[in-house]
């Protein structure tokens, strides 16, 4: 029994060992992941707050399909998922030294992000035109539009900052100044933005 346990030690050490790199990653990547966890907790708090507001609302929560155009939101989701695919391709191309493919896919990702932001701007302006305000709306409790503006607003601001990061990365990559790891860090952030949208799309628009 003891010998069996001892045999597992090297394997456990390989997976969980500490040392200079406890996560087996560079410090840049480790810090990026820690940032992503903390930013994820921000959205987690916002989504929990949305659940709270919805549960305590004395007025029935509006049916989302009667307020939003769900096919339009699905299009936004499609755009973001596609941009994540092109971002993943850019990261791998940068790692393999295929600069042209990396740059092309970075540009595709930026275009996808711009389309997503454009769709979000259209959705906001359309709803505001129909009477959506932080203080009230025609469909139900004011908490509904408060949650909508805060959740999608925070997410949209992350998309915007992601676009700035991607644009800088693409410009530097075109000059050969961005190492593969720089593209990977930008990619991690962009995928995180996509990941957050998965939760907002399900919990706010569909449930």
């Amino acid at each position: 029994m003891q010998a069996e346990a001892a045999a597992h030690v090297p394997a456990l050490e390989a997976h969980w060992g500490g040392g200079a790199a406890p996560f087996g990653a560079t410090w840049q990547k480790t810090m990026m992941w820690i940032f992503i966890v903390t930013d994820g907790l921000l959205f987690s708090g916002l989504l929990c707050g949305y659940g709270f507001l919805r549960h305590v609302s004395p007025v029935p929560w509006p049916r989302q399909s009667e307020v939003f155009s769900i096919p339009f939101i699905a299009l936004m989701t499609f755009i973001l998922i596609t941009s994540s695919m092109t971002m993943g391709t850019a990261v791998t191309a940068a790692r393999l030294g295929d600069r042209k493919r990396a740059l092309n896919n970075l540009v595709f990702t930026i275009v996808g992000g711009l389309c997503f932001l454009g769709c979000q701007a259209y959705e906001w302006s359309h709803l505001i035109h129909e009477g959506a305000r932080l203080t009230g709306n025609p469909w139900g409790p004011p908490q509904f539009t408060q949650a909508f503006f805060v959740l999608t607003g925070f997410h949209g601001s992350h998309v915007l900052s992601g676009l700035v990061i991607l644009t800088i990365t693409a410009i530097r990559a075109s000059m050969g100044k961005t190492p593969a790891q720089g593209v990977e860090m930008a990619g991690l952030y962009w995928h995180f933005v996509d990941l957050v949208w998965v939760f907002i799309f399900t919990l706010f628009y569909l449930l």
């Binding site: 969980w16 992941w33 966890v37 709270f52 998922i81 994540s84 791998t92 990941l195 569909l206």
Partner: protein
């Protein structure tokens, strides 16, 4: 990264297609007005599958050390569950008081 042995970009295309299929299934479930409890379970399960695929395949967590994947998953999920469990109890209490 093990995907470099074959077509290194294939994993992203496969993940993309699966994510689109799952998203379409979620939209279909919402459109067909499934019973509420089924809809909740169905959507939450598919949401977690999508999140796992994005984290694992797009963010390459499946190729990282388990300690990193556990730090990320536990850091976000466990903390969120703790927060939600407290908020959920509080919201039950407030909803009861408001209905009185």
């Amino acid at each position: 990264m093990s995907e470099t042995t074959g077509n290194p970009y294939r994993i992203y295309r496969i993940t993309w297609v699966i994510l689109l299929i799952i998203t379409t299934a979620m939209l279909g479930a919402e459109a067909f007005h499934l019973p509420r409890i089924f809809l909740i379970v169905f959507l939450l399960a598919f949401m977690m599958v999508k999140a796992t695929m994005i984290g694992g395949n797009f963010m390459h967590l499946r190729y990282e050390k388990p300690s990193l994947a556990v730090m990320v998953a536990a850091g976000i999920l466990v903390t969120s569950l703790i927060l939600y469990s407290f908020i959920s109890r509080e919201s039950h209490y407030i909803a009861q008081r408001l209905s009185q």
